[in-house]
Symmetry: C2
Subunit: 249 residues, 2 copies
DNA sequence: AAGTGGTCTAGACCACTGG
DNA sequence: CAGTGGTCTAGACCACTTA
């Protein structure tokens, strides 16, 4: 009695077949690393067309249970799909989900080699020139929400006149104008106390608790595109994220 | 000269067709909200079979450019796929990416109605009984990494004997044993100073900076499964996440 | 060279949407 | 009710892997 033999089921055949195969894999019948029957064999065994078999296998492949290779066959790669969650972000701007109009106001900018101390703090080992923008982030006429340092690889950095009103979309500008899309972002979030210099720039008290976010932007080849380091006074900022289950059907 | 008319291209037809349609949508030919030609029309226009058209449309649908409804047709929902990033988590355990062996040691447990003050702090409005577990999280013989409060809806909570050695996988137990999988997790991360009670439990100093994470677990219907509230001394914990581009081809 | 999965065709029936 | 997308069949050729 498998889902395939159930005449009362109103599910499409390819779904029923997928469910049957999923149950068998969960039971370890074809165990991890072993081969699934070929598409042709499944057509015969379950008396369905190859298209139906392929739709069923597509579901299992999307669920990460099987891997398929032309000429080599289909192997089981997992007995069951772990429930998985994902935080999706529409773009780099969404990384910090505070108000859209939180503008970066530059206090200073310069192009020079990356300070070794900064590189160490950011957990990277690089050399070469970077455009360093130091500034406050927040809405006009409101207390600043963050004190931010951004380091953009010099050969990718926009001209100084340009980036001021770009908000946080610098990596999108680089993707568009320099054809270097960001492929990976690494972010660390930690707590810490405000230093005196930070407190002064932010109009807060030294020693006050603060949220510190550091981000590293990488291109497809793993090369650094940009670095950013922000300090948020505890009472002015909360990081919120929603993680959704990746289960589909 | 579209990708479809390119005879030198060695891409499959359905990919070429998808690329052609993607370019047209990007140009706003069928603008957002407008209808795409029907599958039948596309078959005629590009002289391919319906299966080929459907494979092409499947790609566009996966990219989030179009939405399809049986009987109603296909509409454009976006001119171009925004570069998008996702943090993927294999399970609830991975939410906090510190060492796997960070066990929760219960200091107290009780079942009672949720304290209104707690509900307010967690940003939820609920009633009913919850199993409240208050404890320390960390490896044995090391300073605790967090002070944690977990509130599990009473009708879903495992028997007291069970949950002790489950680590953080409580929601996975609920999904398996109670058939209530978690569909969404909302998390807020903020900074704050340790209260005296927290400092004492953690063996730290009151007023020290700390990272505070609050999580809400929801089922498919939006009902709360569990709540958790953790405080991490700043020097003992850093939250790290990797966001990968969702672009595929 | 035989067999695999990947692509493609030309049909068909169905559930559902909309006028 | 006509037309849509969803499912399904029975073929076919191809690129690729394995032996």
């Amino acid at each position: 009695m498998t889902a395939m033999d159930d005449p009362g089921s109103n599910a499409p055949r390819y779904m029923a077949l997928a469910e049957t195969l999923r149950a068998r894999i969960a039971a370890g019948d074809p165990d991890v690393g072993e081969q699934l029957p070929t598409e042709h064999a499944l057509c015969e065994r379950y008396a369905v067309s190859r298209h139906t078999v392929r739709e069923a296998l597509r579901l299992l492949a999307e669920a990460g249970l099987i891997a398929r290779r032309r000429g080599a066959g289909t192997v089981v790669v997992a007995r069951e799909a772990r429930q998985s969650f994902a935080q999706r972000l529409g773009g780099v701007d969404d990384l910090m989900q505070y108000a859209r109009d939180a503008q970066l106001t530059a206090l200073s900018t310069e192009v020079r080699a990356l300070d070794p101390a900064v590189a160490r703090a950011m957990g990277v080992n690089v050399n070469g020139d970077y455009l360093h923008v130091h500034g406050l982030r927040g809405e006009p006429d409101r207390p600043a929400i963050a004190l931010t340092d951004v380091y953009i690889r010099a050969d990718l950095a926009p001209p100084v006149e340009t980036y001021v009103d770009m908000g946080g979309a610098i990596t999108e500008w680089i993707a568009r104008e320099k054809s270097v899309p960001t492929a990976r972002i690494e972010q660390t979030i930690s707590a810490g106390a405000l230093t005196e210099a930070e407190a002064e720039a932010l109009g807060a008290d030294a020693g006050e608790a603060a949220l510190r976010t550091r981000r590293r932007y990488f291109d497809k080849g793993g090369r650094i595109i940009a670095l950013s380091d922000s300090v948020h006074p505890a009472d002015r900022f909360t990081y919120e994220m929603v993680l959704k289950s990746e289960a589909e059907s």
